[in-house]
């Protein structure tokens, strides 16, 4: 799967562990929220970083105190129509101050990248392969942004002379 970050394709340096898979003694891994809650101590005892995978229904409140430990949070799109992850992304960034990599992964399409980048997603791993150019174009689909969101602190009426 192609992953695009900062305008270029990157290789995945993370092992995305299924809930059933054994935790390797070392190496970067991501785990589900469920597993993080269940095996937090063991995961924290490892020498290498742990990332988190969130699904649409996950509540960020329960991990607010842990967020800064994660260099990576993966938002797992089960279906492109499920917009809950857009709210989740904003909450992670704006309410809980998550500053690490926020990666959208799974069933979403290039036309949603504009919205995703506005709510704080910075890395894109859609099911269908995509080029860095296409991601760049998608992010800049619209040059005017009416609303405040993660990317713009203020609405257009505060930013522009109208």
């Amino acid at each position: 799967m192609v992953i695009i970050k900062d305008g270029r394709a990157i290789t995945d340096e993370w092992l995305h562990l299924d809930d059933e898979a054994a935790i390797p003694p070392s190496g970067q891994v991501t785990v589900s929220l469920l597993r993080w809650h269940a095996e937090r101590t063991a995961l924290m005892a490892r020498p290498d970083p742990v990332g988190l995978r969130l699904e649409a229904g996950d509540a960020p409140d329960t991990i607010a105190d842990d967020l800064q430990r994660f260099p990576l949070i993966v938002l797992s799109f089960a279906t492109m129509a499920d917009g809950r992850l857009f709210s989740l992304a904003r909450l992670l960034r704006e309410r809980f101050g998550f500053a690490g990599e926020l990666r959208a992964r799974g069933d979403f399409i290039v036309d949603q990248i504009f919205f995703l980048s506005r709510v704080g997603v910075d890395t894109f791993e859609p099911t269908e392969d995509i080029s860095p150019e296409a991601v760049g174009q998608a992010i800049t689909t619209f040059s005017v942004l009416y609303q405040a969101a993660t990317d713009e602190k203020h609405p257009l009426y505060r930013r522009a002379r109208r």
Partner: protein
């Protein structure tokens, strides 16, 4: 009316480019139907029974004559010469070709129009009082707030993939002509005890399969907090609204299942976190308000000019139109004129391109170049000099838009139904025509007084049947068209959902049943009592006895 600045224009231009690319990718097989669906829907494009249907936004129902001429041009160039004005103040084209839709959008963008978010699971066209700005009972013009909400909701990055569609209506008047109680969010401009003007906020109203009257979550919201409070509601809905069943996905179900108090608390908690970060500035309100200034009214005497008054004596046809299709204006010497899009033998809300051009021409001459589209599927010239009423009437009549039936039993709201819509279970336009044909006697029509008959071809309820004084809902029974009647619904101040009359009625008997209901009303009404008042006083039993007793 609101004029786009460079920012607004750039957005619609860029949208055209984006949709041209999306359509090309779909036609080239690079997007699957499943992938293209949400994209085209957010541009108001349905794939229907015969051809695609394109729904164009008319924000809060306001059109300039330049825009109406463009709608005529589109009907002529890309469609079969006509358009259908809807219950949500939009216009629909039933016959465009998919590959030409990007060109239609480009034409629309050239007159500051678009089809953005006219469908799909996102925030839809904001609707309002069709006589906003000229209504005598108005606290404040709601349209600047509609425009502010339009901009806030356009391509909102967080709320473009909601559980389901989301409709917002705003009114500034005492009489609710925007049906705010049956919207996902209804906003009513109100004054609080301190004398400040803000909004009463209703949430969770709606029609469709589960019709519900909205609940007040905040009796008073300061203007500065409008957008942050909307954002709090939408965030709670986006996160917690049901996505497992599309028929239970509207915010009204979330509100019902959560409970009004718990939902209100949830919204309140979310709002407290964001209210100081998203403030609607006074300067922005003033900027938008400056677009909704009054036209240059003349100082005129309040009484009807002698020549016109005399016509109302000597010409019964003009008198009927004057009485039923024109309404008091807040400025002396002016009248609000309704154009009826409900003549006999025409689907309610349809206009052909010649009529659109003619109406634009007349609006330029008689009403400062603006037209309003109502959610009852009619049009309005808001600012007509009383002295010119007869001249205007003469021309409107020629174009078939002066049928004197506003708010009467033949002013029927009707969805396109089985003849056009792929969702419909039953036809609706033929039912409307059949009922209409029984009401060709104007004396009888006027004797019946104000009466709203609403017809939907399926329980999605685009014809707003649940809030019709008489509601008619088409249902499918083993491949046959049957109709469920309700009585006593209303979307005005005393909003109510109609009560079911009884078992569904076969298609050939529907017009008879309606005729019987009307006859029963005439027999049982008290002096000066409207149909709705009679139904509320005596209940539906006497109507049931008459309708079902005969069958």
């Amino acid at each position: 009316m609101y004029q786009y600045d460079e920012f607004d224009q750039r957005i619609v231009d860029e949208r055209v480019r984006q949709f041209r690319d999306q359509t090309a990718r779909f036609l080239a097989g690079q997007l699957t139907e499943d992938q293209f669906r949400p994209l085209r829907l957010m541009n108001g494009l349905y794939l229907q029974r015969h051809a695609p249907m394109l729904r164009v936004a008319i924000p809060y129902g306001l059109l300039s004559t330049r825009q109406l001429r463009m709608l005529a041009h589109i009907a002529r160039t890309y469609d079969r010469g006509y358009g259908h004005f809807t219950t949500r103040q939009n216009v629909q084209y039933n016959w465009p070709e998919l590959n030409r839709v990007p060109d239609i959008l480009a034409d629309l963008a050239s007159v500051q129009m678009h089809a953005i978010q006219t469908s799909g699971n996102c925030i839809r066209n904001v609707t309002s009082d069709p006589i906003a700005g000229v209504a005598a009972d108005e606290l404040e013009d709601p349209r600047p707030y509609c425009e502010i909400i339009r901009q806030w909701s356009t391509f909102h990055p967080e709320f473009s993939y909601l559980p389901r569609k989301f409709k917002i209506a705003v009114t500034g008047a005492e009489q609710d002509r925007a049906a705010v109680q049956v919207h996902d969010i209804g906003l009513r401009l109100v004054r609080n005890e301190a004398g400040e003007v803000g909004f009463a906020v209703l949430v969770g109203g709606g029609l469709g399969r589960t019709p519900i009257i909205g609940e007040t979550t905040r009796p008073f919201l300061a203007k500065r907090d409008l957008l942050s409070y909307l954002e709090a509601i939408l965030r709670v809905y986006n996160r917690f609204g049901r996505r497992d069943n599309k028929y239970k996905a509207r915010i009204k179900i979330l509100l019902k299942e959560t409970g009004v108090a718990a939902f209100t608390t949830q919204v309140e908690q979310e709002w407290q976190q964001i209210k100081d970060h998203l403030v609607l500035d006074d300067t922005e309100i003033e900027r938008v308000k400056a677009h909704f200034t009054e036209p240059p009214y003349e100082t005129l005497p309040a009484e009807l000019p002698g020549a016109v008054a005399q016509r109302t004596e000597s010409d019964p046809a003009f008198a009927a139109w004057f009485r039923h299709n024109t309404f008091a204006h807040k400025v002396p010497g002016y009248r609000i004129v309704f154009l009826s899009l409900k003549p006999p033998k025409v689907p309610p809300g349809d206009l052909d391109h010649r009529q659109m051009d003619a109406i634009a021409e007349l609006a330029d001459r008689f009403s400062f170049g603006e037209i309003r589209v109502t959610h009852n599927q009619n049009m309005i010239f808001a600012d007509v000099r009383a002295s010119e009423l007869h001249a205007l009437w003469t021309e409107l009549r020629e174009w078939g838009v002066a049928t004197p039936n506003i708010n009467k039993a033949t002013d029927i709201i009707c969805c396109p139904g089985l003849d056009f819509c792929s969702l419909a279970n039953a036809s609706s336009i033929p039912i409307a025509e059949e009922i209409y044909s029984r009401l060709d006697n104007f004396d009888y029509l006027y004797d019946l007084g104000d009466l709203r008959i609403n017809i939907s071809g399926c329980m999605n309820g685009c014809g707003h049947h649940t809030v019709g004084h008489i509601g008619i809902l088409g249902v499918d029974k083993k491949g046959e068209e049957w109709y469920q009647l309700t009585l006593g619904g209303s979307s005005a101040n005393e909003a109510a959902l109609g009560e079911r009359l009884g078992p569904a009625i076969a298609k050939p008997d529907v017009a008879d049943a309606v005729t019987t209901i009307l006859k029963t009303y005439v027999e049982l009404r008290a002096p000066d009592e409207s149909f709705l008042q009679t139904v509320r006083r005596i209940g539906i039993t006497p109507f049931q006895e008459q309708v079902y007793g005969h069958h």
